[in-house]
């Protein structure tokens, strides 16, 4: 979905980063479906997650996004971040049993709703 390269930002959309070998992971797909349903453009930053520090990676992704919203997904955690927030204080940090497919979908919805200025959906624990 890369439409054009802006001079200051790299991607016109929400930026999602993950480990290259996790692209096929179900949660990552659910996040992307969640954003797609809300009709906000997004970009996957393939080389985004180099270390285990998903919070920093999400923040770096947010900085590269023209909408200031970044998402980072690992095997068992999802982070939604905003470039204007403090690096260590992301908007959402889901881990463990919060990382269900349904919540991953909602996380995608919420990243998009953050861009659109709409109220966020609640991601409950143990939601199957």
């Amino acid at each position: 979905m890369r439409e054009k390269k802006s001079k200051i930002y790299d991607f016109v959309g929400i930026v999602i980063c993950t480990k290259k070998n996790l692209m096929g992971y179900a949660n990552v797909k659910e996040i992307l479906y969640g954003i797609e349903e809300e009709e906000v453009p997004f970009e996957v930053w393939q080389k985004g997650l180099k270390t285990e520090d998903i919070v920093s990676a999400a923040h770096a992704a947010a900085i590269r996004s023209i909408f200031n919203v970044g998402v980072c997904c690992s095997k068992d955690a999802i982070v939604i971040h905003h470039s204007k927030l403090e690096k260590r204080n992301p908007l959402f940090y889901l881990s463990g049993d919060q990382c269900t497919r349904k919540n991953a979908r909602y996380a995608g919805n919420n990243a998009a709703r953050l861009v659109k200025g709409l109220r966020l959906k609640t991601m409950k624990k143990h939601e199957r």
Partner: protein
């Protein structure tokens, strides 16, 4: 009448329906000196012995400002607190019933595709058996993923089936739309998808982003696409109207006709006046009832038919007072009744996605007034429990007028309007100090009820918060937009629980998120409208009864007092009407030049000691 010596502390105490106020004063060499002001919650029903605790608390609150104690108080002048019992009710006049599904009020955030589709509802698998050219609308539940659903639709399209639209259970309208070969309207988030009938003719419409539907919000549009005759078209007209402004809609043609708007027998009231009685059918709306009461005022009683909602209201308040006074119900009279029209959302039974429809309703406020016997026992209790001299100092409204006169810029003749929670009390005092007063049902509590019911909150506490607190819309993590569109910026990011929401601006910079799907405009409009609907007609009818020759223009000044006069927008709403339409100078009082609209009666009780 207690005699107060120099430096003796005496108090004026006003027991109201919700608050008890006190004013403290002493004589210093023949000059009246105010020493303190206090307020506390009223304990028990106004005018009963249970008020003693509230009175004590109000006095203690007033004493905080001075270095004196409760023992120093030698006399209390108390208002003639006549118990007034009010009650409220809201009854719908119409009810919307659907015999089969017709998704009114369902307006999902992200429908898929766009356009209009007409066809027969069918399951995904059912499409495999369709002939080419058949117009169908698949109903998609969750037994398949959205990928599989899209595959089924594409397969059907390849086989020449005319797939016109889709109805989807999950929030996946866009996802499906992006994976199929034809651009069709898709309505999603239909939670109880099993209730959507299969094999029926249906129409689905989705407008482009930023626009509203145009065909299904038009009764003739529905008639054209579903082949309805004139009679059937008239029947679905309310449904079409309720779809106006939606971004998407689904209408299903069912053999039974689908939707009915039924009139509920709300009942009638019999208004008994001095010369004649009149039966008013409430299903005609509030206007007729209010007019009838004005024509016949002062009324003797109002009787409601048993088994009806309004009959229940009347009987409830008569029952409460009868228990309080040990009087038989048949001796209790309704002093005043006020009605206002309302529109309330009601959950439609038989709906498939939590739909609701708007129904006409009527809100009622009724009031019964006791006799003086109650307040005498309160006076006794105060003498005993507080050990002070107590005397009843004149009527409440006379004291309110005297208190209002301590407002800078106010002189006789004047009128005062005391806006409380349960009632609106108005009085005029002419140049010679003669007083005329009235008490009307329908005030602050009725406004709260209207806000609660018209926004479908089912939370009277939230409704009260919305009534008294300005609201705003959170626009980003760092700013929100006020009602007048001005922004407020924050140095630190707002918590995500506020993001994108309407919030109430509580004192000390606290934000309260409104956990309902109500837009800022809707909240503000409903709030202001509720205040206008209750206070403007009620104040006008009160003033008409007490003004010289029933002519409001003859009143020169009006002072607004009471709890509702502290509201952030109500006094201006009232002043605006009274100034523009009647030329009367109106404003919130400023008792003793510093207390605002509070403490008028308590201050008046003290001020009266200068007169006598």
């Amino acid at each position: 009448m207690p005699v107060c010596d120099n430096k003796d502390l005496f108090a004026g105490v006003d027991v109201g329906n919700s608050t008890t106020e006190a004013a403290l004063a002493q004589w210093e060499d023949g000059v009246l000196q105010y020493l303190g002001t206090g307020i506390a919650e009223t304990t028990g029903i106004k005018g009963t012995p249970e008020n003693v605790d509230g009175v004590r608390n109000a006095l203690l609150s007033a004493l905080e400002e001075s270095d004196r104690s409760l023992n120093d108080v030698s006399a209390i002048y108390i208002n003639a607190a006549i118990p007034v019992i009010g009650d409220l009710s809201m009854s719908t006049i119409t009810e919307t019933i659907i015999t089969e599904s017709a998704m009114i009020g369902h307006n999902p955030d992200t429908p898929g595709g766009a356009g209009i589709g007409t066809g027969r509802t069918i399951s995904l698998e059912g499409m495999l058996n369709c002939m080419p050219g058949e117009k169908v609308i698949p109903v998609v539940d969750t037994h398949l993923t959205f990928h599989q659903a899209a595959k089924f639709i594409n397969k059907a399209l390849d086989a020449g089936v005319d797939v016109q639209a889709a109805i989807v259970q999950e929030n996946e309208g866009v996802l499906i739309s992006n994976r199929i070969k034809k651009k069709i309207p898709i309505v999603d988030e239909v939670t109880i998808i099993d209730a959507v009938p299969i094999g029926m003719q249906a129409v689905v419409e989705v407008a482009e982003a930023g626009r509203s539907i145009m065909v299904l919000s038009n009764p003739y549009g529905i008639a054209s696409l579903l082949g309805l005759d004139a009679k059937a078209t008239r029947k679905i007209a309310p449904l079409a109207i309720s779809l106006i402004g939606n971004r998407s809609a689904v209408v299903i043609k069912t053999p039974k006709g689908g939707i009915k708007q039924k009139k509920i027998p709300i009942g009638s009231l019999n208004v008994v006046g001095k010369k004649y009685s009149q039966e008013i059918d409430l299903s005609k709306g509030a206007g007729e009832l209010v007019m009838a009461i004005e024509k016949m005022a002062p009324i003797i009683d109002i009787v409601g038919a048993p088994g009806t909602a309004v009959g229940g209201l009347i009987n409830r308040i008569k029952q409460t007072l009868s228990e309080l006074e040990n009087q038989s119900i048949s001796d209790i009279r309704i002093r005043d009744l006020f009605a206002t029209n309302a529109v309330v959302p009601q959950l439609i039974s038989g709906g498939v996605a939590g739909e609701f429809s708007l129904n006409a309703a009527i809100g009622l406020a009724a009031m019964v007034v006791s006799n003086e016997r109650m307040s005498r026992s309160l006076v006794q209790q105060l003498k005993v429990k507080l050990g002070v001299d107590v005397s009843v100092g004149g009527t409440e409204m006379e004291m309110a007028l005297l208190g209002a006169l301590t407002t800078p810029g106010v002189e006789k003749p004047l009128a005062v309007v005391d806006m409380g929670g349960g009632s609106i009390d108005a009085a005029v005092m002419d140049k010679n100090g003669r007083v005329k007063a009235v008490h009307m049902a329908g005030a602050g509590d009725m406004v709260t009820m209207l806000i609660d019911r018209e926004l479908g909150l089912e939370d009277i506490v939230l409704a009260e918060e919305m009534k008294i607190t300005p609201a705003a819309q959170v626009k980003s993590l760092f700013h929100l937009q006020l009602e007048d569109d001005r922004p407020i910026f924050f140095n630190t990011p707002l918590d995500k629980k506020y993001y994108g929401r309407v919030v109430l601006l509580k004192p000390r910079d606290q934000l309260q998120p409104v956990k309902r799907e109500i837009s800022l405009q809707k909240l503000v409009a409903t709030r202001r409208d509720a205040k206008k609907k209750v206070f403007i007609p009620n104040i006008l009818r009160a003033l008409k009864r007490i003004s010289p020759g029933r002519n409001i223009h003859a009143i020169e000044q009006i002072v607004l007092i009471g709890g509702c006069a502290l509201d952030f927008e109500l006094p201006e709403i009232i002043s605006d009407v009274l100034m523009k339409d009647f030329g009367v100078v109106t404003g919130s009082g400023n008792v003793r030049g510093k207390l605002g609209p509070r403490n008028a009666v308590a201050t008046g009780l003290i001020s009266a000691q200068e007169v006598y």
